[in-house]
C-alpha cells in the first residue's frame, strides 16, 4: 500500500501550485475582489493550456489522460489559492463542450442543489437555467443565481468540491498559524497561549482527517467514500475558516484580511449538491447495506 502521492502526482501538484502562485497571488486575489463578477479570461486560457480542464480527458481525445487522484490534487490547489470561476463546471464539460478543455470556452452548470455559479460570464450553460434569479452573493468572488431545477448529485462533482474545500481548509490553517506566530500580546506570540494553540491544533486535525478521506475517495471512487470525504472536507473548510477568523481577532472581522474570503467561499461550496443531509443519508443507508463497515476495509 502506497497511499502517499507518487512523485509524478507531487510534481503535478507543485506545478499547479507554482502556476497559481505566479498568476493568482494575493495581489491578484485582492484585485479580483475589487472588480467582482469579472472572470480573467487570459488566466482561464492558461489553465486550459496547463491541462487543468482536460486533466481526466483520455489522451486519444486530446486530454492529459490522468485520473481522479490527479484531479483532486489540482482542485485542492485551486481551493487553496481561492481561484475564482466555474472551474468544476468547465472541467466536467471538457470533451463534451467544444473549447472547454482548452480554456477557450467558459462553462457554467446548474448544480443539483439549484444554484448556478458564474452564469453571466459563461459562454455555455450545462443544464436548465430557465428562470434563473440573481442573488446578491455573499462571496464577492462567486456570482450566484438560483434556478427552480433540481437534480441528483454527480459523485465526481461531489469529490472535486471536497478537494477544493480541503485546499481552502489547508489555507485557513496556514493563515491561522502564521498569524498566531507573528501577532504578539502580553509580550508573547499569541500562539504560545494554549487557548489559541489548541484552536490551531484542531484546525490541523480536521484538515488531516479530511485529507485522508478525500485522497482515499479519489482512489476508490466509492460513493460512500466520496460522501464521507465531502462531509469532512466541508466541516474542515467552514469550521477551519471560522477558527482562523477567531485567531485573527479584530483583524479577522475586516474586509482587508483574507479570512472572510475563505469562509464565504467555503459556505458557497457547502450548498452544492451532495453535501450535508444528502451525504449523511447516503452514509446511513450504507450502514444497512450489510457491507458498510467491512467491505472497504479490505482495500
Amino acid at each position: 500500500m502506497r497511499f502517499r502521492p507518487t512523485d509524478d502526482q507531487r510534481a503535478l501538484r507543485d506545478g499547479v501550485r507554482a502556476l497559481l502562485a505566479r498568476r493568482f497571488d494575493r495581489e491578484a486575489l485582492r484585485a479580483a475582489v475589487d472588480r467582482p463578477g469579472r472572470l480573467d479570461r487570459a488566466l482561464w486560457r492558461e489553465l486550459g493550456a496547463a491541462g487543468f480542464f482536460a486533466l481526466r480527458l483520455p489522451e486519444a481525445d486530446g486530454g492529459v489522460g490522468l485520473g481522479l487522484p490527479e484531479a483532486v490534487l489540482a482542485f485542492e490547489e485551486a481551493g487553496r489559492a481561492l481561484l475564482p470561476g466555474p472551474l468544476l463546471a468547465t472541467h466536467l464539460a471538457a470533451g463534451r463542450v467544444p473549447g472547454a478543455a482548452e480554456g477557450e470556452t467558459v462553462v457554467a452548470a446548474v448544480d443539483g442543489g439549484g444554484l448556478v455559479e458564474w452564469l453571466a460570464q459563461a459562454d455555455v450553460v450545462s443544464g436548465d437555467a430557465d428562470g434563473a434569479v440573481p442573488l446578491n452573493s455573499v462571496d464577492p468572488l462567486t456570482p450566484l443565481h438560483t434556478v427552480p431545477a433540481r437534480g441528483a448529485a454527480d459523485p465526481t462533482a461531489v469529490l472535486l468540491t471536497a478537494a477544493e474545500q480541503l485546499g481552502t481548509a489547508t489555507r485557513a490553517c496556514e493563515l491561522a498559524v502564521q498569524h498566531a506566530r507573528a501577532r504578539e500580546q502580553f509580550g508573547r506570540p499569541i500562539g504560545a497561549f494554549q487557548a489559541v494553540k489548541h484552536l490551531c491544533a484542531d484546525l490541523l486535525v480536521r484538515v488531516e482527517t479530511a485529507r485522508a478521506a478525500v485522497y482515499a475517495a479519489a482512489v476508490t471512487a466509492d460513493p460512500a467514500d466520496i460522501a464521507a470525504a465531502r462531509l469532512l472536507a466541508d466541516e474542515a473548510a467552514v469550521r477551519g475558516a471560522r477558527d482562523c477568523l477567531q485567531v485573527h481577532g479584530g483583524m479577522g472581522f475586516t474586509w482587508e484580511a483574507d479570512v472572510h474570503l475563505l469562509l464565504k467561499r467555503a459556505w458557497v461550496r457547502t450548498r452544492r449538491a451532495g453535501g450535508g443531509t444528502e451525504s449523511e443519508e447516503l452514509l446511513a443507508r450504507d450502514l444497512l447495506s450489510g457491507t458498510g463497515g467491512q467491505r472497504s476495509c479490505l482495500r
Binding site: 506566530r181 464521507a228 443531509t277 451525504s279 452514509l283
Partner: protein
Amino acid sequence: MDLSDSPEDAEFRARLREWLAKALPALPPKPSPDDWPGRRAYDLGWQRTLYEAGYADVHWEASPGVRLIFLEETEKAGAPYVGAGFVGLLHAGPTIAAEGTAEQRARWLPPVLRGEEVWCQGFSEPDAGSDLAALRTRARRDGDDYVVSGSKIWTSHAEVADWCELLVRTDPRAPKHRGITWLAMPMDAPGVTVRPLRTLAGSAEFAEVFLDEVRVPVANRVGAENDGWRVTMVTLSFERGTAFVGEVVACRRVLGELAVRARRDGRWDDPVLRRRLGRLNAEFRALWRLTQWNVSEAEAARGGVPGVGGSVFKLRYSQARQELYDTAAEVLGDAALDLDRPWVRDRLSSLSYTIAAGTSQIQRDIVAERILGLPKGR
C-alpha cells in the same frame, strides 16, 4: 496513491486469514473480565499460539504495512488482542531491543515473544501525570542494587505482571528530564505492594503500586544512569499509528450493528438519529483512511522516528469513540442505563480515551508545537 496490497502483502494477508480460520476455533473460552489470572493465561496462551505459528514478532520485525494487515485481519476474525502482553510487546520489549545489552535482550525478550512473562508499566505517579518528568519515585545506589521508594499509578496488569518497566529519579538535583533512570523491576521483590484501582466502570483495570525500599539490581538498568527519559522516548511512540487499528475496525462493526438495531426498533424513521449514524460512518471511514495514511508515511520514513501523525489520529479517534457510544445510548433509549446491556460498559470505558496515553489537551500541545511550530508555552 494506491490502497491495494503489494503482492507480498496480499500473500501475507491470505496466509494469515487461512491460519486464523484454523487457529481460532481451537481457542479456549474467554475468561470473565474480573478473572485476572484467567485473563493472563488466556492472553499468554494466544501469544504462545502466535509464536508457534511464526507471528509472535510481527510487532517488532514487520513493516508498518504488514502490522496494519495483521491487526486488521486478527480483529476481523475475532482473534484476541494483545491484552496482558501489551507492555511487553509494544513498549518494554522494543525499549530493551533498542537500548538493552545483549545479555538483557537474551534474558527478557524471548519470554515476551513466547508468551511466558507479563510486563507492566510504572511511569505515572499521583503527582506526575501529564507532567511525567516530574516523577519523584527515588532510587539510591547501595552496592550492586538500587533501593527504590515511591508510588506509581494507573498501572495496568500490575496484579499479574512478572516485571515492571520502572522510571525512577536517580538525581534529584538535575533538571527534571535529566535525573531519570529506566529499571526492570521484578514484581515479586519484597516491598512491592499492588492495590487495585476501581474505574468508574466498576472494574479493576489498573492499580496503584507502592514501593517501599525495593532492591533492584543495577544489572537491571537499561541505558545509562540518568538517561532514562531518552531511553523511554525512543519507543514511547513505537506503537503510534497502528495502536488503534483493531479498535477502528471494531467501531465500524459496532456502528453497523447500531444501524441494524435502530431499524429493528423502529428508530430508523428518526432523521436526526439516522443522520447522526451517517455522520459517524463518515467519521470512522475517515479514521480508517487516516490510519492507512499514517502507516504509509511511516513506511516512507522507514528507520526514522515515527511521525506525530499519531497525535492527530488520537485526538480525532478518542472523540469519535465517545460520540459512537453516546449515539449507542441514543439508540438504546432507557436500556442505556442498564449495565447488563451491550454497549453500556463500552460507553463508560470510552470516557478514558481522551485522558489515557496523553490527554487531548497534551496532544493538542504536541500537534501545535511539533507539527505547526507554534512557540512552547501554556
